[in-house]
Amino acid sequence: MAEVTRGEVVVRVFDVIGTSLAVSSDDGQKVYEKIAPLLHQGQKVRLSFDKIETIISAFLNAAVGQLYGEFSEEKVRDLFNVQEMSPEDLALLKRVVDNAKLYFDNRKEFDQAWRDEVGGQQ
């Protein structure tokens, strides 16, 4: 499930979720639960998508996006990386990461602005 290469722990998504389809939030959660404790220990982590055929945002939100609610951007940038993703999947990951940063930075203000816009109550 995980191996240490040049000081980095490689977490293989396929080994964690047991399928080539990374299409569920719950499976993303399983991956997050492997990564987060390692980052808490200050361990560098590389997430491998080898053998993964399909990846969607719901999976990435849980596995990776969620990290920004727990760790600073600097810490994620220093300790976390991915490998064996296609350019298309990397583009999707970038969307997810950009969205997660906004979500955790502005969540309250963003939702309140909408409630104000439609006249709802908090």
Binding site: S24, I56, A58, V76, P87, L93, L102, V118
Partner: protein
């Protein structure tokens, strides 16, 4: 109760037929519903998904449904996609244009993956470029996952698809008889009178999610809409009394429908590569 069902095509009128059915059938408890297809003069096979979702609620309220007077061509279509199997009609061989009617529990994401793997090839694939096919599949999974995360549907998710080879389009419909995208948004925003149209509009905007936990959301529907635009396909989202169509905007039904239906139309003549420019992983975080 006897109800004569109107035409069921991939348009506002098709959903209007379902809303008319629902306005009566929703009142039934421990009764009998005779669904008469004699006025249903045309039907797109994939519309079996929202019809199946409605009838699942009817059955859940201990009603018995009988389907009668189905015109031959429509009967054959609904026997091929196995919709009529549950109503005592023998199944016909599916043929090369059908993704059969099937229901999945919200926990059956992997079974849904197997369903796509088994039934998508040949329905516009591989004519559709590999890149477009991949983004299409991702979009379909996003819709399914949206139902898993937000519908609270105890009766599962209903799926059916139809490939139209002459028109080079594939319709895949995912319908859940759950809480409905509009009600979910209304509850989240604390605005119980928010019109369906505005609720759908809110849900479709990038970055919006009704999630309140630690997992962010709000990327999937935007991803799907971007694909539809680039592919020159279409998407219809039906919830409450609103029908959103990417190609025609918003429209109103005379009465509402339960749950959420997403009707995805992919242009299978799409030859774009969908190759994204390289992004270095180091520049993502």
């Amino acid at each position: 109760m006897i109800h004569k069902l109107g035409p069921l095509n991939n348009n506002r009128e098709g959903f209007e037929s379902l809303a008319e059915l629902w306005s009566l059938a929703s009142l039934l408890v421990s009764r009998s519903l005779e669904l008469d297809f004699s006025m249903c003069s045309s039907l797109d096979g994939n519309m079996a998904a929202p019809l199946g979702a409605l009838l699942a609620i009817v059955a859940d309220k201990l009603n018995r449904t009988e389907i009668v007077a189905v015109q031959v061509a429509i009967e054959n279509s609904l026997r091929r996609n196995q919709f009529l199997t549950n109503y005592g009609y023998p199944t016909l061989e599916a043929g090369p244009t059908i993704l059969p009617f099937q229901s999945f529990q919200l926990t059956e994401e992997r079974l849904f993956g197997e369903y796509l793997k088994q039934h998508l090839p040949g329905k516009g694939f591989p004519q559709l470029t590999e890149g477009a096919g991949k983004v299409f599949q991702q979009s379909v999974f996003e819709i399914f996952q949206n139902a898993v995360a937000h519908s609270d549907s105890k009766l599962g998710v209903f799926v059916c698809g139809q490939f139209f080879p002459n028109e080079l389009r594939l319709n895949l419909t995912i319908s859940d008889p759950g809480v409905g995208i509009c009600n979910k948004v209304r509850a989240f925003l604390g605005k119980k009178d928010l019109p369906s149209e505005e609720a759908i509009q809110w849900a479709l905007a990038g970055g919006h999610t009704t999630r309140t936990g630690k997992r962010p959301g709000g990327v999937g529907l935007k991803f799907m809409l971007d694909f539809v635009k680039r592919n020159r396909g279409n998407i219809q989202i039906v919830s409450g009394d609103s029908v959103y169509s990417a190609s025609a905007g918003y429209d109103k039904l005379h009465s509402g429908l339960p749950g959420t239906t997403v009707n995805f139309e992919v242009n299978t003549a799409d030859t774009q590569s969908y190759h994204e420019p390289d992004v270095a992983p180091e520049n993502i975080f």
